[in-house]
């Protein structure tokens, strides 16, 4: 069965203007997402997940490697394939305010996709937008049509952003930190909305987040990124019950649980230093600088992603030892 999205050895580098310094934001990432699957991509700032999102959305081109959607290399598509790709790969952005044009009403923002992709449908655009608003629980739909982004709350704006993303029933929805800017009590609502939309449409989701507690409830499989590479790739169950990579363990230990009895009894893993910047030419494991169990071997050669068992992949010479 052909995967819906196939990321093959993708790299993306940026040259910092004036200094000649090269930032390797994405440094060799490979994974695939199947149909009706929810994949989580986790990592902290500088790990490259946002850059990777932009590459998948076609907002930038990879320096190396290939991204395939429904079998086609997205960098080399015919106009027809491109149209199909544009229509079927949609994104929910992080900042609910910044992702809506402040000078357009909700109705206008939501009409765009219909105007571009289905201009000849019999149903009026207004009717379709209303139905869309109802699907994301923004009622009464008519009232929201003429509202501007600054007139609605953050949670409501995010619903509009989701409505925009799912309006044409895309096969892949990318949500980049979709709930990070929202209050705790609203996050659950929004995630439920995404879940229900998936059940209805059978779409695949790629959820990008720095917060593992957001991914816990939603994902089938999760990839952990560090400095441009995947360091662990596993099913949700495998990752949370049996993390292997030292960074994954540190990340989990730092994701505080809202329960004092549990939280204060957990093992403390406090990493030294900050995430090193993705610049420079080190040959060894990029985590070795902060790793609590780094050995000489780690500093010499970078470990590749190796399948341990049942699809649980780790990039570490000493998995499970931290």
């Amino acid at each position: 069965m052909q995967p819906l999205l196939d990321i093959i050895a993708v790299k993306k580098s940026f040259k910092v203007r004036g200094t000649g310094v090269v930032v390797r934001a994405v440094d060799g990432v490979s994974f695939s997402i199947g149909r009706n699957e929810t994949f989580g991509l986790a990592g902290e700032s500088g790990c490259g997940k946002t850059t990777l999102s932009r590459l998948i959305m076609g907002l930038a081109d990879p320096t190396e490697g290939t991204i395939r959607f429904a079998g086609n290399d997205i960098a080399k598509q015919s106009p027809q394939q491109y149209k199909h790709y544009r229509r079927n790969v949609q994104m929910v952005f992080q900042d609910p305010y910044a992702s809506l044009n402040p000078r357009k009403t909700v109705g206008e923002s939501l009409s765009l996709a219909f105007t571009v992709h289905e201009p000849n449908s019999r149903e009026s655009i207004e009717a379709r937008v209303c139905k869309l608003l109802e699907d994301v629980d923004l009622r009464p739909a008519g009232a929201f049509l003429s509202r501007y982004p600054h007139q609605i709350s953050g949670g409501q704006r995010q619903r509009v952003a989701i409505a925009r993303a799912i309006s044409l029933n895309p096969q892949l929805v990318l949500a980049d930190e979709a709930v990070a800017a929202l209050d705790m009590s609203i996050r659950a609502e929004i995630l439920n909305l995404l879940k229900n939309a998936q059940v209805r449409t059978g779409a695949s989701y790629l959820l990008v987040s720095h917060d593992l507690s957001v991914l816990r409830n939603m994902c089938d499989r999760i990839g952990i990124m560090y400095l441009g590479r995947l360091v662990e790739l596993a099913t949700s169950e495998q990752l949370f019950s049996n993390p292997q990579h030292p960074y994954t363990k540190a990340l989990l230990a730092a994701t505080l649980v809202p329960n004092p009895r549990i939280e204060r009894a957990r093992k403390r893993i406090v990493l030294a230093g900050d995430a090193a910047s993705p610049v420079g030419n080190s040959h060894g494991c990029r985590f070795s600088g902060r790793c609590p169990i780094a050995k000489e071997k780690c500093r010499q050669t970078e470990p590749g992603l190796v399948d341990m068992n049942a699809g649980h992949q780790v990039a570490c010479y000493f998995p499970g030892m931290a």
Binding site: R54, M57, G58, L59, K83, R86, R87, V89, Q90, M91, F93, Q94, D95, A98, S99, L100, N101, P102, R103, K104, T105, G107, E108, S111, L112, A113, V116, H117, E126, L145, S146, P149, H150, Q151, I152, S153, G154, A161, R164
Partner: protein, 291 residues
């Protein structure tokens, strides 16, 4: 969905503009002069440039509220007709320069790269030319007429608009909602006109007001120096004529000078009022409560 949009926006703009007393004051003055210009032929006592309507340097009277000039022209009527020329010439120039400036700025800002470089170099050429020099060249090649004045002013004003628009486009095109529009399938034309431009328009509007003020000043200066059209009354021309006769009837210079001052002031006040009113930061309402 589109009905009443424009009216609603205009109304809300007025709501934000009206508390600014100085801005409203400026607007009133502006409207005053616009009305004068519109109804000059009704309000004036004598037709424009009519010499000998009265004795030279006549004193103030009902027939000549501001007296007459050296050739017996009624200063009051001249001022009224002068308003027309000054406002129309400057307005036409502003329209032209805005259209050209918008075009250059939008394309340069949106596409970047070598397009941006090329367009900006052209813009810089015009920025650097001194006004008088350009006027001189123009007049010597094309002769001195009102249309040429419009041309000169337009040529001098468009670069600033271009730079402003370019700066706005550079910033706005990086916004997330532009990415969102692209992923929805919007093409370049849609993004430029329906996504970016509405967000840049407030800066443009403010600049139009300020450009108009400067256009009036340029027009007056050019006419004053003799590069304007001697057949068309304008305040600058009146000042040009008034140079030698300050002692005989100081109102010859004062009235047009005052008018120039007031309209330029009014436009600046309105421009600043608009800038305040259109400032998005003041638009923060229910959506973001304090924590």
């Amino acid at each position: 969905m589109k009905d009443w949009h424009f009216l609603r926006q205009a109304h809300s703009l007025w709501e934000r503009f009206s508390p600014n007393r100085l801005g409203v004051f400026g607007l009133v003055i502006l409207l005053f002069y616009v009305l004068i210009a519109l109804f000059a032929n009704v309000l004036a006592i004598y037709p424009p440039l009519m010499t000998g309507s009265g004795p030279s340097f006549a004193g103030l009277s009902a027939a000549h509220p501001f007296g007459t000039d050296n050739l017996g022209r009624d200063i009051f009527s001249e001022t009224l007709y002068g308003a027309r020329a000054t406002l129309v010439v400057s307005f036409l120039a502003v329209v032209a320069s805005t259209v050209v400036g918008l075009g250059f700025g939008a394309i340069a800002g949106y596409f970047g790269g070598w397009v941006d470089e090329a367009l900006m170099r052209i813009t810089e050429v015009f920025l650097v030319i001194p006004a008088i020099f350009l006027a001189l060249v123009f007049v010597s090649i094309f002769g001195g007429s009102a249309w040429n004045v419009v041309g000169v002013i337009a040529l001098l004003s468009w670069p600033q608009m271009a730079r402003l628009v370019r700066a706005e486009f550079l910033v706005i095109k990086e916004q997330t909602y532009i990415d969102a529009a692209r992923t929805s399938g919007a093409g370049n034309l849609h993004v430029i006109f329906r996504e970016i431009l509405p967000n840049a328009i407030s800066t443009v509007i403010v600049n139009v007001s300020l450009t108009q003020a400067s256009a009036i000043l340029i027009e007056s200066s050019l006419s004053f120096l003799g590069f304007g059209d001697p057949a068309v009354v304008s305040w600058g021309l009146m000042l040009h004529n008034a140079q030698k006769y300050f002692n005989q009837n100081w109102l010859m210079a004062f009235i047009p000078g005052l008018s120039i001052f007031l309209t330029v002031l009014a436009l600046n006040l309105v421009g600043e009022g608009l800038a305040e009113a259109l400032n998005p930061r003041r638009n923060v309402r229910a959506a973001s409560l304090p924590r």
